[in-house]
Amino acid sequence: MNPLDARARRATSAINDSLAMAAAPAPFATIVRRAIIVKAINVAMVGAGLVLFIAAGAAFRTPQPQTPVAETVTSTTSEAPPLTTTLPPDDGGSAIVALPTATSTTTSSQAPAATSSTAPPSTTTSSTTTQAPPTTTTKAPPTTTTEPPDTTPPVIEIVFPKNRQRFTEPGVTFRGVTEPGAKVTVGKLEAELGDAGQWRIKLRLRDGRNRVVFTATDAAGNAAQAEVVVFYEPPDVAAFTAHATFGSCEEDPPYDVYHGTGEPGSAVGVVSQYGSGATRVNAEGVWELKVFFPDAPPGETFLVRAADEYGRARTFEFVSNAGGADG
């Protein structure tokens, strides 16, 4: 056992000893009772705070001449983002379109006189509307709480699909995990959530490369993002082939010529650590690309990857024999 494991075992035993010495845990019925009491106290405190706040607002309100009586309206708005079926293209030029699988309910109570307040989720805003001067609205500050602000962004992970995974069907259910209670969105769409923070959403992929960014937002408004790149290869797309002409080169700078076939008009990239290039498949479905590797160390074999925009790839080896190196 290495020293770290030994130390960890001791620290684990210490916690187990501590647990063994602790008093018997409370029975579950007690826990439930306690939770109910705490919830009742919290509700009562929020209610009392709201009453005090409204009273204080009324006391400090500036008198308005010619204003008979101010009408006090308390509105609570739970806002859910509207669902749409399209998303803007990503920065790589690809985009996703959502299938109509997600559902959402929006509850909103609007104050009269065309005045409304929009609060962040799970926040209560009290609004006071004064009628006499036309369109004069006094907006009260949000309710204060004694808790410190939550500035920790939620954790978000994408469990499926894996990065750079390829699909031959456009509909893909993305799923992952976040903090329980946090919501997950992609564009304007909201993922379905499980009790333990699992989430999922079915999206329709565009042809080729799709970069999908998920945002987890907790109740305090902290947000974190995770992204994945996936490829959709429609069934009628021409097969992708790639070949290296030489595999090695004695000239300086060294180069190779790569060629193959693919979907007409699609992009093809050839990438390595010492040189890269890009081209498109021509109308006849053929592509060819000469790539120089000016910094390749003579005698060192390295990998060169040729891939099209559908994520289909081939990998080749290349070695430079420039300067008489005999690898």
Binding site: P25, F28, R166, E169, R314
Partner: protein
């Protein structure tokens, strides 16, 4: 010429997408929640203690996880491993600094006769867990599950809902960083 025709590297495709429902739990008998609570509570408190570092908040965190399990027991109880679910919840709750501080304050405000539920740890052991908590969240969770509960990589992957390879990476990086911070020279033993 060294060009070779490689098969397509990643041909997993729509079959995965079709089978990716997250709540397609198999139908199975529900175990008694009370028995589940009795059996799992102490070790879940231990996990919360290791990850939160707060003796007073650990019990609260565990209770919150069990309350959540109780609320959805009709569903959670049918899971193959409801204990993995409750550990996932407590692991996620424990690594949030804000939530931990709220629970700590709440536990202190309850004015229990004893100062906290758990006795204090020896300084050296407390220092070890403090270093674990200083790791990135996922690494800390993987390390705590690995040592506190002697969980396999597959178990940890199930609890944290990530791939086994990801867990291996978290464990490797977490242990390497711990060794460095604690002044161990582990060489290749990691």
């Amino acid at each position: 010429m060294t060009a070779q025709s490689h098969p397509l590297a990643d041909s997993q495709s729509a079959a995965h997408a079709a089978g990716s429902d997250i709540d397609a739990a198999p139908i199975r008998a529900i175990v008694s929640f009370e028995a589940f609570y009795e059996r799992e509570l102490r070790s879940v408190i231990g996990l919360a203690y290791a990850l939160s570092g707060s003796r007073s908040a650990a019990e609260d965190l565990a209770q919150e996880a069990f309350l959540a399990a109780h609320k959805s027991w009709g569903k959670v109880g049918r899971y193959e491993k409801p204990e993995a679910w409750v550990r996932r919840v407590v692991a996620n709750l424990s690594v949030s600094r804000f939530r931990r501080s709220v629970r700590e304050a709440r536990a202190m405000a309850r004015m229990k006769p004893q100062a906290s539920y758990l006795p204090a740890l020896p300084a050296e052991d407390e220092a070890f867990w403090r270093e674990v908590r200083a790791l990135p969240k996922r690494q800390a969770q993987a390390i705590a599950l690995h040592y506190m509960e002697d969980r396999s990589v597959a178990d940890i992957a199930e609890i944290l809902e990530c791939a086994e390879g990801t867990v291996k990476v978290h464990l490797f990086k977490g242990r390497a960083r711990l060794s460095e911070r604690l002044g161990f020279d582990t060489g290749d033993q990691l």
